[in-house]
Symmetry: C2
Subunit: 248 residues, 2 copies
Protein backbone atom coordinates (compact mmCIF):
# COMPACT_ATOMS: atom_id res chain seq x y z
CA UNK A 1 0.00 0.00 0.00
CA UNK A 2 2.73 2.43 -0.87
CA UNK A 3 1.67 5.72 -2.41
CA UNK A 4 -2.02 4.95 -2.09
CA UNK A 5 -4.79 6.64 -4.00
CA UNK A 6 -3.37 10.17 -4.07
CA UNK A 7 -3.27 10.84 -0.34
CA UNK A 8 -2.33 14.26 0.93
CA UNK A 9 1.43 14.02 1.13
CA UNK A 10 3.26 10.90 2.24
CA UNK A 11 2.97 7.51 3.85
CA UNK A 12 1.93 6.75 7.36
CA UNK A 13 5.49 7.03 8.66
CA UNK A 14 5.84 10.66 7.61
CA UNK A 15 2.50 11.58 9.11
CA UNK A 16 3.40 9.86 12.36
CA UNK A 17 6.59 11.86 12.46
CA UNK A 18 4.84 15.21 12.34
CA UNK A 19 2.39 14.00 14.97
CA UNK A 20 5.11 12.85 17.33
CA UNK A 21 7.03 16.06 16.72
CA UNK A 22 3.94 18.06 17.60
CA UNK A 23 3.31 15.96 20.69
CA UNK A 24 6.86 16.56 21.88
CA UNK A 25 6.54 20.28 21.39
CA UNK A 26 3.17 20.33 23.13
CA UNK A 27 4.47 18.50 26.16
CA UNK A 28 7.59 20.66 26.20
CA UNK A 29 5.41 23.75 26.07
CA UNK A 30 3.41 22.38 29.00
CA UNK A 31 6.53 21.91 31.09
CA UNK A 32 7.78 25.29 29.97
CA UNK A 33 4.62 26.99 31.17
CA UNK A 34 4.74 25.04 34.41
CA UNK A 35 8.37 25.34 35.47
CA UNK A 36 10.18 27.64 33.08
CA UNK A 37 12.83 27.07 30.47
CA UNK A 38 15.55 26.21 32.97
CA UNK A 39 13.63 23.20 34.26
CA UNK A 40 12.64 21.87 30.85
CA UNK A 41 14.06 18.36 30.60
CA UNK A 42 14.14 16.09 27.59
CA UNK A 43 13.92 13.04 29.81
CA UNK A 44 10.83 14.37 31.55
CA UNK A 45 9.17 15.09 28.21
CA UNK A 46 9.97 11.59 26.98
CA UNK A 47 8.77 10.09 30.26
CA UNK A 48 5.47 11.91 30.03
CA UNK A 49 5.04 10.76 26.45
CA UNK A 50 5.82 7.17 27.38
CA UNK A 51 8.87 6.84 25.20
CA UNK A 52 12.53 6.30 25.83
CA UNK A 53 14.52 9.47 26.18
CA UNK A 54 16.91 8.37 23.48
CA UNK A 55 14.06 8.06 20.99
CA UNK A 56 13.38 11.74 21.38
CA UNK A 57 16.71 12.58 19.79
CA UNK A 58 15.36 11.31 16.48
CA UNK A 59 13.12 14.37 16.44
CA UNK A 60 15.30 17.03 18.04
CA UNK A 61 19.04 16.49 17.94
CA UNK A 62 19.58 18.41 21.17
CA UNK A 63 17.80 20.25 23.93
CA UNK A 64 18.74 23.57 22.36
CA UNK A 65 17.10 22.52 19.12
CA UNK A 66 13.87 21.82 20.97
CA UNK A 67 14.15 25.22 22.63
CA UNK A 68 14.76 26.84 19.27
CA UNK A 69 11.64 25.22 17.86
CA UNK A 70 9.66 26.51 20.82
CA UNK A 71 11.16 29.95 20.30
CA UNK A 72 10.06 30.05 16.68
CA UNK A 73 6.59 28.85 17.60
CA UNK A 74 6.38 31.52 20.30
CA UNK A 75 7.38 34.24 17.86
CA UNK A 76 4.74 33.00 15.46
CA UNK A 77 2.09 32.81 18.15
CA UNK A 78 2.85 36.34 19.28
CA UNK A 79 2.97 37.54 15.69
CA UNK A 80 -0.41 36.02 14.99
CA UNK A 81 -1.89 37.67 18.06
CA UNK A 82 -0.56 41.02 16.88
CA UNK A 83 -1.80 40.52 13.34
CA UNK A 84 -5.21 39.42 14.55
CA UNK A 85 -5.50 42.50 16.73
CA UNK A 86 -4.48 44.64 13.78
CA UNK A 87 -7.09 43.04 11.58
CA UNK A 88 -9.73 43.50 14.26
CA UNK A 89 -8.94 47.21 14.48
CA UNK A 90 -8.84 47.69 10.73
CA UNK A 91 -11.49 50.36 10.57
CA UNK A 92 -10.27 52.48 13.44
CA UNK A 93 -7.91 55.41 13.54
CA UNK A 94 -4.17 54.67 13.23
CA UNK A 95 -3.49 55.50 16.86
CA UNK A 96 -6.24 53.11 17.92
CA UNK A 97 -4.75 50.41 15.72
CA UNK A 98 -1.35 51.00 17.29
CA UNK A 99 -2.74 50.77 20.79
CA UNK A 100 -4.69 47.64 19.94
CA UNK A 101 -1.58 45.89 18.66
CA UNK A 102 0.43 46.98 21.70
CA UNK A 103 -2.24 45.63 23.99
CA UNK A 104 -2.35 42.38 22.07
CA UNK A 105 1.40 42.00 22.56
CA UNK A 106 1.08 42.70 26.25
CA UNK A 107 -1.91 40.38 26.58
CA UNK A 108 -0.06 37.54 24.91
CA UNK A 109 2.99 38.11 27.10
CA UNK A 110 1.00 38.15 30.31
CA UNK A 111 -0.82 34.99 29.25
CA UNK A 112 2.39 33.17 28.29
CA UNK A 113 5.07 34.61 30.55
CA UNK A 114 7.53 31.75 30.18
CA UNK A 115 7.24 31.69 26.41
CA UNK A 116 7.67 35.45 26.41
CA UNK A 117 10.76 35.07 28.56
CA UNK A 118 12.04 32.53 26.07
CA UNK A 119 12.00 35.01 23.23
CA UNK A 120 12.46 38.42 24.86
CA UNK A 121 14.34 37.45 28.00
CA UNK A 122 17.88 36.19 28.00
CA UNK A 123 18.40 34.11 24.88
CA UNK A 124 18.89 30.67 26.38
CA UNK A 125 20.50 28.60 23.62
CA UNK A 126 24.06 29.49 22.97
CA UNK A 127 24.64 33.19 23.20
CA UNK A 128 22.65 34.46 20.26
CA UNK A 129 19.39 33.21 18.88
CA UNK A 130 19.94 31.20 15.69
CA UNK A 131 19.36 33.06 12.44
CA UNK A 132 16.32 30.88 11.75
CA UNK A 133 14.36 32.81 14.35
CA UNK A 134 14.88 36.18 12.67
CA UNK A 135 11.95 36.13 10.21
CA UNK A 136 9.51 34.95 12.86
CA UNK A 137 10.79 37.61 15.23
CA UNK A 138 10.05 40.40 12.79
CA UNK A 139 6.31 39.88 12.51
CA UNK A 140 5.31 42.23 15.30
CA UNK A 141 7.64 44.85 13.93
CA UNK A 142 6.07 44.61 10.49
CA UNK A 143 2.61 45.12 11.93
CA UNK A 144 3.73 48.29 13.66
CA UNK A 145 5.50 49.54 10.56
CA UNK A 146 2.38 48.89 8.52
CA UNK A 147 0.21 50.98 10.80
CA UNK A 148 2.50 53.97 10.63
CA UNK A 149 3.03 53.62 6.91
CA UNK A 150 -0.69 53.53 6.24
CA UNK A 151 -1.22 56.54 8.46
CA UNK A 152 1.57 58.33 6.67
CA UNK A 153 0.25 57.50 3.25
CA UNK A 154 -3.15 58.76 4.33
CA UNK A 155 -2.44 62.15 5.75
CA UNK A 156 1.15 62.52 6.78
CA UNK A 157 2.60 62.07 10.25
CA UNK A 158 4.44 64.43 12.53
CA UNK A 159 8.11 64.95 11.86
CA UNK A 160 11.15 65.17 14.07
CA UNK A 161 14.39 66.88 13.41
CA UNK A 162 17.36 64.53 13.42
CA UNK A 163 20.79 65.26 14.78
CA UNK A 164 23.59 65.03 12.25
CA UNK A 165 24.87 62.00 14.13
CA UNK A 166 21.92 59.67 13.58
CA UNK A 167 20.91 60.97 10.22
CA UNK A 168 22.79 58.32 8.20
CA UNK A 169 21.52 55.48 10.35
CA UNK A 170 17.97 56.83 10.18
CA UNK A 171 18.19 57.06 6.42
CA UNK A 172 19.49 53.51 6.27
CA UNK A 173 16.68 52.28 8.50
CA UNK A 174 14.05 54.01 6.41
CA UNK A 175 15.50 52.60 3.20
CA UNK A 176 15.53 49.09 4.58
CA UNK A 177 12.29 48.97 6.51
CA UNK A 178 9.93 51.49 4.94
CA UNK A 179 11.20 53.42 1.94
CA UNK A 180 8.08 55.54 1.86
CA UNK A 181 8.64 56.80 5.39
CA UNK A 182 10.88 59.75 6.25
CA UNK A 183 14.09 58.73 8.04
CA UNK A 184 13.12 60.51 11.23
CA UNK A 185 9.89 58.53 11.46
CA UNK A 186 11.68 55.26 10.79
CA UNK A 187 14.11 56.00 13.61
CA UNK A 188 11.44 56.78 16.20
CA UNK A 189 9.50 53.77 15.00
CA UNK A 190 12.34 51.36 15.64
CA UNK A 191 12.94 52.97 19.02
CA UNK A 192 9.25 52.70 19.88
CA UNK A 193 9.33 49.04 18.88
CA UNK A 194 12.08 48.36 21.41
CA UNK A 195 10.45 50.57 24.01
CA UNK A 196 7.17 48.70 23.71
CA UNK A 197 8.92 45.50 24.68
CA UNK A 198 10.66 47.31 27.51
CA UNK A 199 7.27 48.08 28.97
CA UNK A 200 6.03 44.54 28.49
CA UNK A 201 9.21 42.98 29.85
CA UNK A 202 9.18 45.10 32.97
CA UNK A 203 5.66 43.99 33.69
CA UNK A 204 6.15 40.31 32.90
CA UNK A 205 9.49 40.06 34.66
CA UNK A 206 8.21 41.68 37.83
CA UNK A 207 10.14 44.92 37.60
CA UNK A 208 6.91 46.83 38.16
CA UNK A 209 6.24 45.01 41.42
CA UNK A 210 5.68 47.49 44.21
CA UNK A 211 5.91 50.29 41.65
CA UNK A 212 3.03 50.19 39.19
CA UNK A 213 -0.26 48.90 40.56
CA UNK A 214 -2.83 49.43 37.83
CA UNK A 215 -0.69 47.95 35.11
CA UNK A 216 -3.38 47.72 32.49
CA UNK A 217 -4.22 51.40 32.60
CA UNK A 218 -0.60 52.32 32.86
CA UNK A 219 0.27 50.27 29.82
CA UNK A 220 -2.57 51.67 27.77
CA UNK A 221 -1.39 55.16 28.66
CA UNK A 222 2.19 54.36 27.73
CA UNK A 223 1.10 52.75 24.47
CA UNK A 224 -0.92 55.84 23.61
CA UNK A 225 2.15 57.95 24.33
CA UNK A 226 4.16 55.75 22.03
CA UNK A 227 1.53 56.13 19.30
CA UNK A 228 1.69 59.87 19.68
CA UNK A 229 5.45 59.67 19.65
CA UNK A 230 5.63 57.91 16.31
CA UNK A 231 3.38 60.55 14.85
CA UNK A 232 -0.07 59.02 15.13
CA UNK A 233 -2.39 61.67 16.47
CA UNK A 234 -4.51 60.46 19.33
CA UNK A 235 -8.19 60.66 18.52
CA UNK A 236 -9.78 61.22 21.93
CA UNK A 237 -11.37 57.78 21.70
CA UNK A 238 -14.13 57.85 24.30
CA UNK A 239 -14.09 61.47 25.24
CA UNK A 240 -11.04 61.06 27.47
CA UNK A 241 -8.06 62.81 25.94
CA UNK A 242 -4.75 60.97 26.16
CA UNK A 243 -1.18 62.10 25.89
CA UNK A 244 -1.70 65.35 24.09
CA UNK A 245 0.80 68.03 24.80
CA UNK A 246 0.01 71.01 26.99
CA UNK A 247 2.23 73.84 28.13
CA UNK A 248 3.84 73.84 31.55
Amino acid sequence: MSTTHGATTQGARARARVEVTAAIKDEARRQLAADGAAKLSLRAVARELGMASSALYRYFPSRDDLLTALIIDAYDSLGEAAEAAHARAAGEAPAQQWIAVCEAVRGWAVAHPHEYALIYGSPVPGYFAPATTVPAAARVGYVLIGIVRDAYRGKGVAQWKLSAEVEPEAARLAGELAPDLPPAVAAVLVAAWAQLFGLVSFEVFGQFNKVVEDRESFFRHAAAQLAHHVGLVSPQPTGTGSASRAGS
Copy 2:
Protein backbone atom coordinates in the same frame (compact mmCIF):
# COMPACT_ATOMS: atom_id res chain seq x y z
CA MET B 1 43.14 34.74 72.11
CA SER B 2 39.47 35.45 72.09
CA THR B 3 38.47 39.07 71.68
CA THR B 4 42.05 40.21 71.28
CA HIS B 5 43.24 43.77 71.64
CA GLY B 6 40.28 45.47 70.04
CA ALA B 7 40.72 44.17 66.49
CA THR B 8 38.48 45.45 63.76
CA THR B 9 35.55 43.11 64.01
CA GLN B 10 35.93 39.41 64.65
CA GLY B 11 38.28 36.47 64.75
CA ALA B 12 40.17 35.02 61.88
CA ARG B 13 37.35 32.61 61.06
CA ALA B 14 34.87 35.37 60.30
CA ARG B 15 37.34 37.17 58.09
CA ALA B 16 38.12 33.97 56.26
CA ARG B 17 34.42 33.51 55.66
CA VAL B 18 33.98 36.81 53.88
CA GLU B 19 37.10 36.10 51.85
CA VAL B 20 35.91 32.68 50.76
CA THR B 21 32.46 34.09 50.03
CA ALA B 22 34.01 36.75 47.84
CA ALA B 23 36.22 34.20 46.11
CA ILE B 24 33.20 32.05 45.31
CA LYS B 25 31.32 35.00 43.89
CA ASP B 26 34.33 36.11 41.87
CA GLU B 27 34.80 32.70 40.33
CA ALA B 28 31.07 32.40 39.71
CA ARG B 29 31.11 35.78 38.00
CA ARG B 30 34.00 34.59 35.85
CA GLN B 31 32.07 31.53 34.73
CA LEU B 32 28.97 33.65 34.25
CA ALA B 33 30.80 36.02 31.94
CA ALA B 34 32.33 33.09 30.08
CA ASP B 35 29.39 30.76 29.56
CA GLY B 36 26.24 32.44 30.80
CA ALA B 37 23.97 31.76 33.72
CA ALA B 38 22.67 28.46 32.39
CA LYS B 39 26.13 26.90 32.42
CA LEU B 40 27.10 28.17 35.85
CA SER B 41 27.86 25.12 37.98
CA LEU B 42 28.53 24.96 41.69
CA ARG B 43 30.77 21.96 41.22
CA ALA B 44 32.83 23.76 38.61
CA VAL B 45 33.21 26.76 40.90
CA ALA B 46 34.30 24.53 43.77
CA ARG B 47 36.66 22.63 41.50
CA GLU B 48 38.30 25.84 40.33
CA LEU B 49 38.69 26.97 43.91
CA GLY B 50 40.19 23.64 44.96
CA MET B 51 37.53 22.77 47.46
CA ALA B 52 34.96 20.03 47.76
CA SER B 53 31.63 20.91 46.19
CA SER B 54 29.83 20.11 49.40
CA ALA B 55 31.89 22.68 51.27
CA LEU B 56 30.49 25.38 49.07
CA TYR B 57 27.03 24.83 50.51
CA ARG B 58 28.29 26.30 53.81
CA TYR B 59 28.38 29.64 52.02
CA PHE B 60 25.43 29.45 49.66
CA PRO B 61 22.63 27.06 50.56
CA SER B 62 21.70 26.53 46.92
CA ARG B 63 22.60 27.45 43.38
CA ASP B 64 19.74 29.92 43.27
CA ASP B 65 21.10 31.67 46.34
CA LEU B 66 24.43 32.13 44.59
CA LEU B 67 22.60 33.48 41.56
CA THR B 68 20.62 35.83 43.78
CA ALA B 69 23.83 37.15 45.30
CA LEU B 70 25.22 37.74 41.83
CA ILE B 71 21.98 39.47 40.86
CA ILE B 72 22.23 41.88 43.77
CA ASP B 73 25.87 42.59 43.01
CA ALA B 74 24.99 43.22 39.37
CA TYR B 75 22.24 45.65 40.33
CA ASP B 76 24.69 47.44 42.59
CA SER B 77 27.37 47.54 39.94
CA LEU B 78 24.97 48.95 37.38
CA GLY B 79 23.61 51.39 39.95
CA GLU B 80 27.09 52.62 40.75
CA ALA B 81 27.84 53.11 37.07
CA ALA B 82 24.68 55.17 36.70
CA GLU B 83 25.39 57.22 39.80
CA ALA B 84 28.95 57.83 38.74
CA ALA B 85 27.80 59.04 35.35
CA HIS B 86 25.28 61.31 37.03
CA ALA B 87 27.94 62.75 39.28
CA ARG B 88 30.24 63.30 36.33
CA ALA B 89 27.54 65.23 34.49
CA ALA B 90 26.57 67.29 37.52
CA GLY B 91 27.17 70.67 35.97
CA GLU B 92 25.46 70.05 32.68
CA ALA B 93 21.90 70.62 31.57
CA PRO B 94 19.25 68.15 32.77
CA ALA B 95 18.81 66.60 29.34
CA GLN B 96 22.56 66.05 29.14
CA GLN B 97 22.55 64.42 32.56
CA TRP B 98 19.73 62.16 31.46
CA ILE B 99 21.54 61.12 28.31
CA ALA B 100 24.75 60.53 30.24
CA VAL B 101 23.02 58.20 32.66
CA CYS B 102 21.29 56.34 29.84
CA GLU B 103 24.58 55.88 28.06
CA ALA B 104 26.19 54.65 31.26
CA VAL B 105 23.47 52.03 31.62
CA ARG B 106 23.94 50.94 28.04
CA GLY B 107 27.70 50.92 28.39
CA TRP B 108 27.56 48.74 31.47
CA ALA B 109 25.13 46.38 29.78
CA VAL B 110 27.21 45.83 26.65
CA ALA B 111 30.30 45.41 28.82
CA HIS B 112 28.60 42.82 31.05
CA PRO B 113 25.99 41.17 28.82
CA HIS B 114 25.55 38.04 30.90
CA GLU B 115 25.21 39.96 34.13
CA TYR B 116 22.74 42.24 32.40
CA ALA B 117 20.80 39.21 31.21
CA LEU B 118 20.78 37.97 34.78
CA ILE B 119 18.96 41.02 36.04
CA TYR B 120 16.93 42.28 33.07
CA GLY B 121 16.48 39.07 31.13
CA SER B 122 14.35 36.23 32.33
CA PRO B 123 14.66 36.06 36.10
CA VAL B 124 16.38 32.71 36.49
CA PRO B 125 15.75 31.75 40.13
CA GLY B 126 12.23 30.64 40.75
CA TYR B 127 9.78 32.70 38.81
CA PHE B 128 10.18 36.10 40.42
CA ALA B 129 13.29 37.74 41.73
CA PRO B 130 13.41 37.54 45.54
CA ALA B 131 12.29 40.62 47.41
CA THR B 132 15.87 41.19 48.57
CA THR B 133 16.81 42.39 45.14
CA VAL B 134 14.22 45.16 45.04
CA PRO B 135 16.21 47.94 46.76
CA ALA B 136 19.30 47.29 44.65
CA ALA B 137 17.17 47.24 41.53
CA ALA B 138 15.77 50.70 42.21
CA ARG B 139 19.06 52.59 42.12
CA VAL B 140 18.99 53.42 38.43
CA GLY B 141 15.40 54.52 38.73
CA TYR B 142 16.25 56.86 41.57
CA VAL B 143 18.98 58.49 39.55
CA LEU B 144 16.57 59.18 36.71
CA ILE B 145 13.93 60.49 39.09
CA GLY B 146 16.49 62.77 40.66
CA ILE B 147 17.42 64.33 37.35
CA VAL B 148 13.85 65.12 36.44
CA ARG B 149 13.02 66.35 39.92
CA ASP B 150 15.97 68.72 39.93
CA ALA B 151 15.03 70.00 36.50
CA TYR B 152 11.47 70.45 37.63
CA ARG B 153 12.45 72.30 40.77
CA GLY B 154 14.65 74.53 38.71
CA LYS B 155 12.40 75.73 35.97
CA GLY B 156 9.45 73.49 35.42
CA VAL B 157 9.12 70.71 32.90
CA ALA B 158 6.69 70.14 30.10
CA GLN B 159 3.31 68.75 31.01
CA TRP B 160 1.08 66.12 29.49
CA LYS B 161 -2.63 65.75 29.77
CA LEU B 162 -3.70 62.47 31.37
CA SER B 163 -6.66 60.36 30.42
CA ALA B 164 -9.19 59.82 33.15
CA GLU B 165 -8.21 56.17 33.20
CA VAL B 166 -4.59 56.54 34.30
CA GLU B 167 -5.04 59.60 36.41
CA PRO B 168 -5.39 57.70 39.74
CA GLU B 169 -2.40 55.50 39.01
CA ALA B 170 -0.33 58.49 37.94
CA ALA B 171 -1.24 60.32 41.13
CA ARG B 172 -0.29 57.25 43.17
CA LEU B 173 3.03 56.96 41.35
CA ALA B 174 3.82 60.61 41.93
CA GLY B 175 2.93 60.35 45.60
CA GLU B 176 5.12 57.34 46.09
CA LEU B 177 8.13 58.16 43.94
CA ALA B 178 8.34 61.93 43.73
CA PRO B 179 5.73 63.94 45.63
CA ASP B 180 7.02 67.19 44.19
CA LEU B 181 6.43 66.04 40.61
CA PRO B 182 3.09 66.34 38.82
CA PRO B 183 1.36 62.98 38.27
CA ALA B 184 1.66 63.22 34.52
CA VAL B 185 5.42 63.62 34.75
CA ALA B 186 5.72 60.72 37.16
CA ALA B 187 3.81 58.49 34.76
CA VAL B 188 5.92 59.31 31.72
CA LEU B 189 9.01 58.96 33.88
CA VAL B 190 8.18 55.42 34.91
CA ALA B 191 7.34 54.56 31.33
CA ALA B 192 10.61 56.07 30.12
CA TRP B 193 12.45 54.02 32.73
CA ALA B 194 11.03 50.82 31.30
CA GLN B 195 11.53 51.99 27.74
CA LEU B 196 15.17 52.74 28.36
CA PHE B 197 15.74 49.13 29.33
CA GLY B 198 13.77 48.02 26.30
CA LEU B 199 16.30 49.77 24.11
CA VAL B 200 19.23 48.31 26.01
CA SER B 201 17.76 44.81 26.10
CA PHE B 202 17.09 44.77 22.37
CA GLU B 203 20.68 45.69 21.72
CA VAL B 204 22.25 43.31 24.23
CA PHE B 205 19.98 40.40 23.36
CA GLY B 206 20.61 40.73 19.65
CA GLN B 207 17.16 41.93 18.61
CA PHE B 208 18.78 44.77 16.70
CA ASN B 209 20.88 42.39 14.64
CA LYS B 210 20.38 43.08 10.95
CA VAL B 211 18.17 46.02 11.88
CA VAL B 212 20.17 48.74 13.60
CA GLU B 213 23.77 49.11 12.49
CA ASP B 214 25.12 52.22 14.18
CA ARG B 215 23.78 51.29 17.58
CA GLU B 216 25.67 53.90 19.54
CA SER B 217 24.27 56.81 17.56
CA PHE B 218 20.85 55.25 17.47
CA PHE B 219 20.84 54.81 21.22
CA ARG B 220 22.01 58.35 21.88
CA HIS B 221 19.22 59.59 19.63
CA ALA B 222 16.62 57.47 21.41
CA ALA B 223 17.90 58.54 24.81
CA ALA B 224 17.62 62.18 23.76
CA GLN B 225 14.07 61.52 22.62
CA LEU B 226 13.34 59.99 26.00
CA ALA B 227 14.80 63.01 27.74
CA HIS B 228 12.60 65.26 25.68
CA HIS B 229 9.68 63.02 26.39
CA VAL B 230 9.98 63.30 30.17
CA GLY B 231 10.05 67.05 29.81
CA LEU B 232 13.76 67.83 29.73
CA VAL B 233 14.33 70.32 26.95
CA SER B 234 17.21 69.39 24.71
CA PRO B 235 19.89 72.05 24.79
CA GLN B 236 21.46 71.72 21.32
CA PRO B 237 24.62 70.43 22.95
CA THR B 238 27.31 70.84 20.31
CA GLY B 239 25.42 72.75 17.74
CA THR B 240 23.57 69.69 16.44
CA GLY B 241 19.91 69.85 17.34
CA SER B 242 18.30 66.64 18.51
CA ALA B 243 14.73 65.49 18.78
CA SER B 244 13.00 68.80 18.67
CA ARG B 245 9.56 68.84 17.19
CA ALA B 246 8.81 70.29 13.78
CA GLY B 247 5.58 70.39 11.82
CA SER B 248 4.90 67.97 9.00
